[in-house]
Point group: C2
Chain length 347, copies 2
DNA sequence: GGCAAAAAGGAAATCGTTTTCCTTCCCCCG
DNA sequence: CGGGGGAAGGAAAACGATTTCCTTTTTGCC
């Protein structure tokens, strides 16, 4: 592991000063053909690449963007990263990545440390609202993703209220009456979803029964399933915090002999790719995860460039209902259900 | 956005030299209680955090690890990142992340640029074998993941030959005879899989029919499905390059009215979490993705520390068969297949 | 009380660049 | 032929730390 060549080596080899080399590399100034040729030759010969750290010290730009993600295993976040990465790459930026799942407590510290190494941050976690000002005080441009951020900051997210509202509308229209909602208890990041669902049901004189998962994961969906199904007043539809929970839920429900959608409708939120391949295919709401990452990165790049973002404050992406096979139309109150497995006798 | 305090500010505030502050921060030297108290007070008051870039320039350590991944949307790679991230975090390292999918051509350049900002690299892509020496010449420790790397370098991966071999054994034992393999044509990263499957079938006088997908994705699995099923000599089992391809394949096959596993067995490789939730649940081989990331990172950290890695050369992780419902025992050659669901009559 | 040795703290070089002035040098024109 | 002006290239000061010597003080001990 021999030391890498420095600009000084190049200058020596080419017989010019380091200032000249620097200016040549950056295209700051033109030089005589002879000099430029010598410099280029020296660079090639030594396989010189300038040290980005040293450059950063001077320019104050690092060329990387920090991306703080709750859990990379969740395809929703994976998609965000994918979109953000694409845009960043197009603009010559790298992604410095932090998955905070394991260390919620250290989150603020991690972000603070990270902030020195990047030109800006995309923060997409469930960090408590009161910690946000600390992130903003870091002195780097920040875009919050997936939540509405405090006054004066920039954020982007799906319209979760609308998403939940359209799910409520769908289910009611399909004839469901006893609708359960499986939410995400710690940190309550689902206020808007709850409100959207509650409002839509209320318009029809209904209200959701609420259940709590401990996290937005497959495992929690599985765990919470029996709680929901064994409780009093079995629901005829379940709205899950996200697709992961919904998929886990469906898996266990099926194992328990519940037929979906005949016995029970299930709806998720996010539209992760695998929702198409579950049995039945999952009805959900598309949250445009990848676009979220792309647009978030675009906003951030503008912030970094010192331009006013095209959309200061909170940018809302429109959700889109994705109707598949895990929900179905139900007959009014008492449906006979012809097939071998007749089940319903509401009162 | 006011400027952040420097070590000079702290020194001034505390009435000591910057050398003293530096030594205090790094614990390099002890000072009198009075001085230490003043320094600490100054640090707190100014909310000083040392600039990692400046520190890196001197120490030559950056505190980040570069992770180069083919496609973050593939849960296999996501798991690798997750595992690597966990270990890195435990050791105080960040992850600098590159998803190269969009820019295979620029891959080498991206890595070269990245290499200056990190203390080591984990490379998990399909980069052509002849480009690997270039990566090694970067002068940073590298661990290649998911492939066998050149002499003198460190790599880690599943034993793909064994994985494919055990799939072949399983299928033959279950009575399958016409076995198709859906591989990954560009860059042929599946040599070992092909060989393992071929060898296992050959032991029973059989040979796989090969089909090519253009990428290891859901979409390619879907696309290739009709090709496989419409060709002459329909197979009774399909082995897919990975779970993604298998899941896409199963989705389309089901749509086409093929019953799995009654009409056709399907096997994947990787054991991604969603394989449990497809219909039917996917038989696969676990490639320990997360452990791959963890162990890869451990190897790299040892390399960085200058210690001999516990396992120089190539480390093989053992695959493990995960038998689920997408494969089933078949009767000898011509199976009548009586009633819709009755199927078994071993003998 | 005197002297050596250890403790405490600081000056300055350094890491590899960028960038802001300068200094030359050359050419052209009156 | 002299002088003005631009072109070409270089010197040196940053950037914000770490680290290697030093120079002072203390302290310990006889």
């Amino acid at each position: 592991m021999k030391k890498r060549p420095t600009i000084r080596d190049v200058a020596g080899q080419a017989g010019v000063s380091i200032a000249t080399v620097s200016k040549f590399i950056n295209g700051t100034q033109r030089f005589s053909a002879a000099v430029e040729r010598r410099i280029q030759a020296a660079i090639d010969e030594l396989a010189y690449h300038s040290n980005p750290l040293a450059r950063s010290m001077i320019t104050g730009k690092t060329g990387s963007i920090g991306v703080v993600i709750l859990d990379i295993l969740n395809p929703h976040f994976t998609n965000i990263v994918k979109g953000a990465n694409r845009i960043a790459l197009e603009h010559g930026y790298n992604l410095l990545f932090v998955d905070t799942e394991e260390s919620q407590a250290r989150e603020s510290d991690l972000i603070a440390a990270l902030s020195r190494r990047v030109d800006g941050l995309i923060v997409s976690t469930r960090m408590p609202q009161e910690d946000l000002p600390g992130v903003l005080a870091l002195g780097k441009p920040v875009v919050f993703s997936g939540r509405v951020a405090p006054e004066g900051s920039v954020s982007i997210g799906i319209d979760a209220y609308a998403a939940a509202y359209m799910i409520g509308e769908l289910l009611v229209k399909q004839g469901h009456r006893k609708i359960a909602y499986v939410g995400f208890a710690p940190a309550r990041p689902d206020q808007e979803r709850i409100k959207g669902l509650t409002d839509s049901l209320a318009a029809h004189g209904l209200a959701p029964t609420r259940f709590e998962a401990q996290g937005p994961t497959l495992a929690e969906g599985e765990r919470v399933c029996s709680t929901v199904l064994l409780g009093k007043g079995k629901p005829d539809a379940v709205v899950c915090y996200n697709d992961l929970v919904a998929i886990g839920f469906m898996g266990v429900a099926t194992t328990l002999g519940i037929r979906i959608p005949e016995d029970l409708s299930v709806v998720g939120i996010d539209n992760i790719p695998f929702g198409r391949f579950t049995s039945p295919a999952l009805t959900t709401v598309d949250t445009q995860s990848e676009k979220l990452g792309e647009e978030g990165m675009r906003l951030l790049l503008r912030l970094i460039a010192g331009e006013d973002p095209p959309a200061p404050g909170h940018t809302r992406l429109e959700p889109r209902l994705v109707l598949r096979d895990s929900t179905r139309v139900r007959l009014a109150e008492a449906s006979p259900g012809p097939a071998p497995k007749a089940r319903r006798r509401a009162g």
